[in-house]
């Protein structure tokens, strides 16, 4: 028994995407409601049909949201633990709720506004003298943080730079390979009106950009943006009668190895998979559930907070051998439209907008409806992933 084919994504909705802080004076609640209402409209449903919330990264309190929108009855409300790792898995959680008979029409969404807090320093304990709290993920001063913070390790980019450096050392991965991820993603973003970055990026610009956490430069980092995206998942049966062509959940998995654990905040992962995305066990389980393999995937929406993590996911999801991702991208494989595996056809977190992975789910749905701006012709299967980070990380395979 699994959730395979039991549910379908039937609606997607989004606000415009904004540069960091520029969505104000809209509130995060307002942005969330706009995205949810747009998704309801897209699906041909009514707000009264919504009866569940399957979330990740704790965007806001469901109690407040439900009273704001006047949801008649909330029958399921659950959030994956962790942060952006759960993005893709939130749809799997929705499918599980539906398959288990707990709810029928489940919303997953993320709303983000970085006016006061910047995710680029998410792990900083204190971002300014007037800041009583800390980064968005700053824990309430846990003893474990004493083993990371004193070194000045406060931002995810620095942390992933440590994994990237190790990958370069082990496999000969080069900055040019990171650049190919940034440049190919930008090329996709340029064609989309929703993208915040619409100028071409050249290799020369990449190579001469300022280094932030060497080996990572400015263009290896994703954007810091505002906005909200929502998707609605319902039963495969009910999906038949709605406005859009259903996009079926072929499989979803989340989790990871216990000894991957806190990963980037810990740095004591086993050497065997230190320089990885943490997704290997999830990928294996996801393919088993879906009954497909990497060669069946037509388009991959891989969470791209930092370019090297796209490379490591290409390896962990079996599109190339471990350590071979640099060569794989250098051969043009991830380019749209002619690569063997177009990646992040929407422009990703790197160049379209960073809504903590929800834009990847939106793009997968558009690809499988056949309405994507950078359409992969005949796309039948799309892979979506959540952000490589502490566990749980997650994956999702959708089918037309």
């Amino acid at each position: 028994m699994s959730i395979k084919n039991s549910a379908a994504v039937v609606g997607v909705g989004s606000t415009p995407y904004y540069r960091r802080g520029e969505s104000w004076p809209q509130t995060t609640m307002e942005l969330a409601c706009k995205a949810i209402l747009a998704a309801v409209e897209d699906a041909g449903l009514r707000v009264d049909d919504i009866d569940g919330f399957a979330l990740y990264s704790m965007p806001l309190d469901v109690s407040l949201l439900a009273q704001t929108l006047g949801i008649p009855e909330v029958r399921f409300s659950s959030t994956l633990t962790g942060g952006g790792g759960g993005a893709a898995g939130s749809v799997g959680l929705a499918a599980a709720a539906i398959h288990g008979g707990m709810a029928e029409c489940v919303v997953s969404f993320l709303t983000l506004q970085q006016a006061k807090r910047r995710f680029g320093a998410a792990f900083a304990l204190k971002q300014s003298d007037s800041d009583k709290g800390g980064g968005a993920y700053a824990p309430p001063h846990m003893p474990e943080m004493d083993f990371a913070a004193p070194s000045g390790l406060v931002g995810p980019g620095q942390m992933f730079g440590l994994l990237a450096q190790r990958h370069m050392h082990l496999y000969g991965t080069k900055r040019e390979h990171f650049a190919e991820v940034a440049i190919s993603t930008r090329a996709n973003a340029i064609r989309r009106p929703s993208s915040l970055m619409r100028e071409p990026l050249t290799l020369d610009e990449y190579m001469t950009a300022r280094m932030i956490a060497d080996p990572l430069c400015l263009y290896d980092f994703c954007l810091e943006t505002d906005g909200a995206v929502a998707v609605i998942t319902t039963s495969a049966e009910r999906a038949k009668d709605l406005r859009q062509r259903p996009v079926h959940v072929l499989g979803s998995a989340h989790g990871g190895a216990g000894r991957w654990g806190q990963a980037i905040m810990w740095m004591n992962m086993p050497e065997e998979y230190f320089a990885s995305s943490g997704h290997r066990p999830v990928a294996k389980r996801l393919y088993e559930m879906a009954g497909v393999g990497p060669s069946d995937i037509d388009v991959a929406l891989l969470y791209d907070h930092f370019t090297p993590m796209v490379l490591m996911q290409l390896e962990d999801y079996g599109f190339c051998e471990i350590g071979e991702s640099g060569r794989f991208v250098a051969e043009g494989n991830i380019r749209w439209p002619n690569g063997s595996l177009p990646v992040n056809t929407h422009g990703g977190n790197l160049s379209e907008a960073y809504i903590i992975g929800m834009t990847h789910i939106r793009e997968a749905v558009e690809q499988l409806r056949g309405t994507a701006i950078n359409q992969v012709q005949g796309a039948e299967l799309a892979l979506v992933t959540g952000g490589p980070a502490s566990i749980p990380v997650s994956g999702l395979i959708l089918r037309r």
């Binding site: 900083a124 846990m142 990371a148 000045g152 406060v154 440590l162 190790r166 300022r210 956490a213 000894r259």
Partner: protein, 150 residues
């Protein structure tokens, strides 16, 4: 014991410790300029940061083993842009993950200091240098062991 800051560019604000009963022995030792790591009394596995159970055999008891203070760079970055305003005076600085001699399987997140960042390499031998933040807190940093560029 001479107490001094060896990495004054890294703000003391970052070194406000909140130990719990399992991590406190580590920080008590650093204050005395001793680098120690907890080793499971049953199976011999090290665990860092210190935790209440052995991840391998779930035993609680540990021996606090005093280490040589030598290690090697497992990986590193050169942080060139301050990600928060109070680190503006610190950049560039090297954040490094150090494998500790005598404690196989565990690593410490720290810094390599007193070195040209361009010369830091994975596999580089380093040794501990004690950064006394104040009378109560000492943070272990690392310097090149061979003295090159020191």
């Amino acid at each position: 014991m001479l107490r001094r800051r060896v990495a004054p560019q890294l703000p003391s604000l970052l070194a406000r410790l909140n130990p719990d009963p399992w991590t406190e022995p580590f920080w008590r030792a650093t204050r005395e300029h001793r680098l120690v790591a907890p080793r499971c009394t049953a199976c011999g596995a090290f665990r860092m940061p210190p935790t209440p159970f052995c991840w391998q055999c779930r035993t609680q008891a540990v021996d606090w083993v005093e280490l040589s203070g030598r290690g090697t760079v497992f990986t590193f970055n050169v942080t060139r842009q301050a990600l928060v305003p109070f680190l503006r005076g610190a950049v560039p600085y090297v954040v490094a993950v150090i494998e500790l001699e005598g404690a196989p399987g565990v690593r410490l997140i720290s810094n390599v200091i007193d070195v040209d960042p361009a010369l830091v390499k994975i596999g580089m031998p380093v040794r501990v240098a004690w950064d006394d933040i104040d009378d109560n807190v000492t943070i272990p940093r690392f310097v090149p062991a061979d003295g090159a560029n020191a």
